[in-house]
Structure formats: C-alpha cells, structure tokens
C-alpha cells in the first residue's frame, strides 16, 4: 500500500494506524519530532532514496512546476534506479507480506513504484490523503519556518502535486481519504479502504491491534483550520485551488456514475494550472533574468578564458585546408547536418588534397 498526498495532510496518521493493522512499515524509520510527535511512518531508506532522486532531477518535494513531472519521469524509466528499488522492495517482501510505504516525495515516482511492485507480483494500491490546501499551507508555514517557500508557491505546489497525483493513480486501485474524517472516526475510513481496495485483513485485525491503532488518533492534531485569510495567495490561485479541492472531495465519496464528470473537470483544472504557471513565469521573467545574469556573466568570462587557451593550442595544430574551411562557412549547419557521412568524408578528402 502506497500512501500519497501532500505533507501535513494526515499521511503519517494513516500509516501509524495501518501499521498496527497487519501492514509493516520497513525499518528503520525516520525519527519523530515536534511536528510529528507520533512518528512519521517513513522508512529511512525510502526517504534517503527519494531525496537523492529528487536532487538528481532538480525537483523539490512540493515543486509547483508542471514541467517537474517530466523531469522525474526520466528517472522512473532509468534501469539502474528501477533495479535499486527492485532489490530493496524484493528484500522487504521476502520478510513481510503486506507493506505500507509512505513519504511525501513518493508521488513523484508513483509509476516506478507501481511497475516494480507489479514485477514482484505484489498487489499495489494507493491511498491519497486529502486536507484543505489552506490548512496544509498554514501547517507547513508553522512547522517548517526555515524553508524559504512563500505562501503562494506552497499553494501552487499543493495544486500541482494533488492534480498530478490524482492523474497518476487514475488506473490504479485507489481510494481518497479526508484527514478530518479520519480523525473523526478512523474505523469508518479504514473499513472503507478495506472494502474499496479489497484488503479484508485490515478490518480483521485483533482487538489489541485496533486499540493500539486508536492510540495514535489525537484530535488535537488538527491544529490548523482552513482559511485563506492570513495567507498571501493571489485570488486566481485560491479560486483554482478551491475548485480542485471540491472535485478531489467528490472522489472520496463519488458515486460511480459521477466519476467521469469529475475526472474530466480535473483534466481541465490541470490545463488551467499549466496556463496559470506559464503566465506567472512569463510575468516574473525579469526577476529570473536578474537572478541569473551574474551567473551568466561569470560563465561567459570563463568561456572566454577557455577560448583563449584553445586558440593558443590550435595555433600549434596544422591548419584546415582553405577550401574546406570556406565550405564550412558557406554551407549552413542545418544543411551540413543532412549530408550523409559518406559524402562529407569524400568531400573532406577531396578538398584536403
């Protein structure tokens, strides 16, 4: 079982519950802290591996760029990376039949987890936690004050990651769970997960296990309430985030005949978000250019130094025949590229005589 959803959405709570109902959280885990006193429920290997992969892809865990999914797609298809997961997951399954894997970064690699899980003969399912975006942003601002992301970017990150997590899992065995409903009555939500994902063992857990699971539910955990009032997020983004939120809620309790319309609306939301992000990037282009200008100047200076060095080396090499040089100047690169190699070689030999 893969647990997806934005950080601060109740994913840790769900894993702590499920981890007491027959599912195993691979050890060692990330240590608990004040932001998550009951523990994160995240395997250390998974966190470290995802962190390394995101670094390679140049993607942030709550990246707001729609283009970031293409960056992680490359890694999802990398053979060596697939083999790493295959080995680790295979080892885990050799010891335990049911695993629950959670990490806020996991959404970026869902296709990889799904594929490797299937290769190992596992039945892969996804539970995505839902929490109002304003609550998520407020919670992150409170518990991660050292991170430099601003409100609007966090809100955009929520929209991007939730829209594409939904799209990524559309063909999967999946269920959506609201954080506030999990807190209100976790037994109902677990029963729903059990029924919709066909995992009867969840509701067949022993009484002691259920009591242990209940001990993780602390309604005081719901500390941030939904309000955009104190958040600096532009109106158009708030409007889109609310639309996405409303449709994601429908996925958590939609009747089957309404499903198609909801999915179609979510497709339109993704298109709208891509447009919004593109225009935001365009408007902010002056800021981006100003930020990279010193770096570009530095690179240009280094290249100039390197060219001077190359020229002095070239001066010691035999000169290219004049006709061949003239040919290169007269024929445009796009035309030169289309000339078959055999013709180029023949021409070079002829002009070199």
């Amino acid at each position: 079982m893969l647990v997806a959803g934005s950080g601060r959405s109740g994913t840790s709570l769900l894993v702590n519950i499920i981890g007491n109902l027959g599912f195993y959280v691979p050890q060692p885990q990330l240590e608990a802290d004040d932001s998550n006193p009951q523990g994160f429920g995240e395997p250390q290997w998974v966190v470290d591996w995802h962190t390394e992969l995101l670094k390679r892809a140049n993607v942030h865990a709550s990246d707001a760029r729609p283009s970031a999914w293409a960056d992680t797609a490359r890694l999802c298809l990398d053979e060596r990376i697939s083999a790493q997961l295959h080995r680790w997951l295979g080892n885990q399954f050799s010891l335990h039949e049911q695993l629950v894997i959670k990490d806020p970064r996991l959404m970026w690699f869902l296709p990889l987890w799904n594929r490797v899980g299937n290769e190992l003969g596992a039945s892969v399912s996804v539970v995505t936690m839902l929490r109002h975006p304003a609550e998520v942003v407020t919670s992150k601002l409170h518990w991660y004050p050292n991170m430099t992301l601003v409100d609007a970017n966090r809100a955009a990150g929520w929209v991007n990651t939730m829209l594409y997590t939904e799209r990524a899992t559309r063909d999967y065995r999946r269920v959506f769970v609201r954080f506030d409903e999990l807190l209100a009555d976790w037994t109902q939500q677990i029963a729903r997960i059990s029924a919709e994902l066909d995992i009867p063992s969840l509701v067949n857990a022993r009484a002691r296990q259920q009591a242990e699971a209940d001990s993780f539910v602390d309604r005081s955990l719901h500390r941030s309430k939904a309000s955009w009032e104190n958040l600096d997020v532009p109106e158009n983004l708030v409007k889109l985030a609310e639309q996405v939120w409303e449709d994601m809620l429908l996925l958590s309790d939609v009747r089957k005949d309404d499903g198609t319309q909801v999915l179609s609306r979510l497709d339109r939301h993704r298109e709208a978000y891509i447009s919004l992000y593109r225009y935001a990037e365009a408007v902010a282009q002056s800021t981006t250019l100003a930020a990279v200008r010193p770096l570009r100047q530095r690179i240009a200076a280094l290249e100039k130094q390197r060219n001077l060095s190359d020229q002095s080396k070239a001066a010691q090499q035999p000169k290219t025949p004049g006709l061949l040089q003239a040919g290169r100047r007269l024929i445009p690169p796009e035309i030169r590229r289309r000339i078959p190699p055999r013709l180029k070689l023949a021409a070079a030999k002829l002009l070199s005589r």
Partner: protein, 335 residues
C-alpha cells in the same frame, strides 16, 4: 474571442488550430495537408499514427496494445492488398475501442527510400515526406506518436505510454524509442537481436515546429527539443518476418557495404538466418511453449528477457557509496 485569462476554466477543451493548407504539386486538393496543431495546454494525450501497407499479419499483436495505451489511433493505409484496414476495424471492434480508431486511405504510390526518395519532390503526393506530413496532419491531441505497423508493445510498455501522456503535459517534450528487432521464423521460433538497439524519435508535440522534412535517403521529423525523454528498450520490439522481403520499402538494397549500421546489421542477421549459418553475436533463439505463438510469448516475457541481458544492477547506499556496474561484475566473477 477566447478569453486571454489563463485561469478561466470555462470547461471547454483546448481546440486545435487549423493552419493554411499545404498543397501538393499534383494539385490534388482532397489530399492537401491541413494541420490541426494544438498550442494551448491540453490533457488530450497521445495520438498514434500508423502508416501501413499489408500489415495484416502483424496487426493482431501491434494494434490492441496501442489502442489500450493512447487516446486515439490513426491508421493510414497505403494500398494494402491483404485486408489490413478491415482487420484493423475488426480488432478495434472486438476490443470495444472503435471510438478510438480512425482509418484513412492514402491511395498513391509512395517512393521507396533511397534513390527513388531522393528524386521525388517533397511536395509530391508520391513523396514519403508528404505522405507522413499528410498522415500526421490529422492529429488533434497534444502529442503525436509515430508508430509502425510492426511495433509490438509489451504490457509494461503500455503503462509507460499511459503515464507519459500526463507526465509530459507540462513540457514541450519529445520521446525517443529504443527497440530491437525480432525475426520470426515460424509460429514457435523467433530470433531476438539483443546486441543492437536502434533509437528513433517517436513522440513529439503537435505544433508547427515538428513537421517532416526531406533528407537524402528518407524523411525526418524536426527538430530535436530540449526535453528529450528516452524510453527503455523493454518497452517494445519490431517484428520482421523471415519469409517476407523486409527491404521492399528501399530502392537500393546494397546494405552490406552501405553506411547505415542499422541496415547492415539487419542484412547480416537475415542473411545468416536464411542461409543457416552461425548466428551473429547477440542474436538469441526463442522457442515458445506448445500452443503459444512465439510473438505472444515474447510480448509477455520481453521485460524479463531484456533485464537478464542488461547490465548488472548496482547497490544503493544512501551514504553515496554506490558501487559501479564494473565493481559488481568483478565481485560476481570473484564469487
């Protein structure tokens, strides 16, 4: 006039843009090229375009997986004599995917690659370049996928294609395929060339920047984009039937001494297989279980077969001490 506010979600899907038609030098208006480029963001996914001629034998393996994997399939038939278009419709009907398949006819003799292609104008209906542009002009989704009538997707490859449809929504990406040839000798025996994998650009945005241009020996889509994604070699393979003439779409067949490595390799393998001589290095023989066609067998087991033939996996150490394949190979040999 459509709203310029990028956040307005009026519920309407992004509409393709019809450009000015490209005319052909023969003046056949019905076959002018009318593009349906799609510039705005769209979740419409991939349209696979198959240009086929007498592919009835391969179609039962080629068409079902691609119908399952993409949003739309356009099959352009070029004077088939074996019932290819009718079979395509039947396959789609059996699968319940009729709504996804569009069958078109391109009734002109198209020049073969090589000298014939070289001496055919690119705006002639007989040019492969024109043929390809005409075929792809019917795409109305965000991405076009060039698919051949002999390319077979593995089940894992189907999922990769389904995922790429949304993974590439936010970029102007291109997709490069890596595939090997499978030479089919009989219903139960085939030969797979594991040593040579050729790469081909197969997916790109449906925009004016990506059209086909004429090269000396063949056509090519332009240009390369910054966001290039390479799909793994286990995604699909290319069927070659040993009893057929696999080079009949070329006007010059002196591949043995030609500059194209891919064609030299195919020529060498086919000659060895037909001549009964030793198999070239990297070519393995596959025999399927009784009552299972070898192509079905390969399709279901292709990923496993390619993984066995691939580089040794490396161990991941979060501390950053990742062993190289070379080190692992040495370790394996020592043990």
């Amino acid at each position: 006039m459509a709203s310029e506010d990028p956040t307005v979600n009026d519920g309407a899907a992004a509409s393709p843009v019809a450009g000015d038609p490209w005319t052909n030098r023969e003046g056949i208006e019905e076959y002018n090229i009318r593009w349906h480029w799609l510039q705005k963001p769209s979740s419409s996914g991939f349209t696979a375009v198959l240009r086929v001629r007498d592919e009835a034998r391969s179609l039962p393996w080629v068409l079902p997986p691609i119908l399952r994997s993409v949003q739309h399939v356009i099959l352009v038939d070029n004077n088939s004599t074996d019932g290819t278009p009718e079979l395509a419709r039947q396959i789609a009907r059996n699968q319940g995917s009729e709504h996804k398949l569009e069958v078109l006819s391109y009734p002109f003799e198209v020049s073969r690659y090589g000298a014939e292609h070289l001496w055919t104008y690119p705006d002639s209906v007989h040019s492969p370049t024109y043929f390809y542009n005409w075929s792809f002009s019917h795409v109305r989704t965000r991405y076009a996928l060039k698919w051949d009538g002999d390319m077979v997707l593995s089940p894992e490859g189907e999922q990769v294609l389904r995922d790429l449809a949304w993974q590439l929504e936010g970029v102007g990406g291109t997709v490069r395929m890596a595939l090997s040839s499978v030479y089919v000798e009989s219903p139960r025996v085939a030969y797979v060339d594991l040593s040579y994998v050729h790469g081909e650009l197969c997916g790109w945005r449906n925009v004016p920047e990506h059209t086909f241009v004429k090269c000396f020996d063949w056509e090519h889509v332009r240009p390369w984009s910054d966001s290039l994604l390479r799909v793994p070699d286990w995604m699909c393979f290319e069927l070659k039937w040993l009893e057929a003439d696999e080079f009949d779409h070329w006007s010059d067949t002196e591949f043995e001494t030609g500059p194209l490595f891919r064609k030299r390799r195919e020529w060498a393998v086919i000659r060895a297989l037909l001549g009964g001589t030793d198999l070239p290095d990297g070519v393995i023989r596959i025999e399927s279980p009784r009552d299972v066609h070898v192509v079905d067998h390969l399709q279901q087991n292709y990923v496993t077969m390619r993984h066995r033939g691939s580089a040794v996996e490396s161990a991941f150490d979060p501390a950053g001490n990742e062993e190289t394949s070379q080190q692992l190979t040495e370790k394996t040999q020592r043990s």
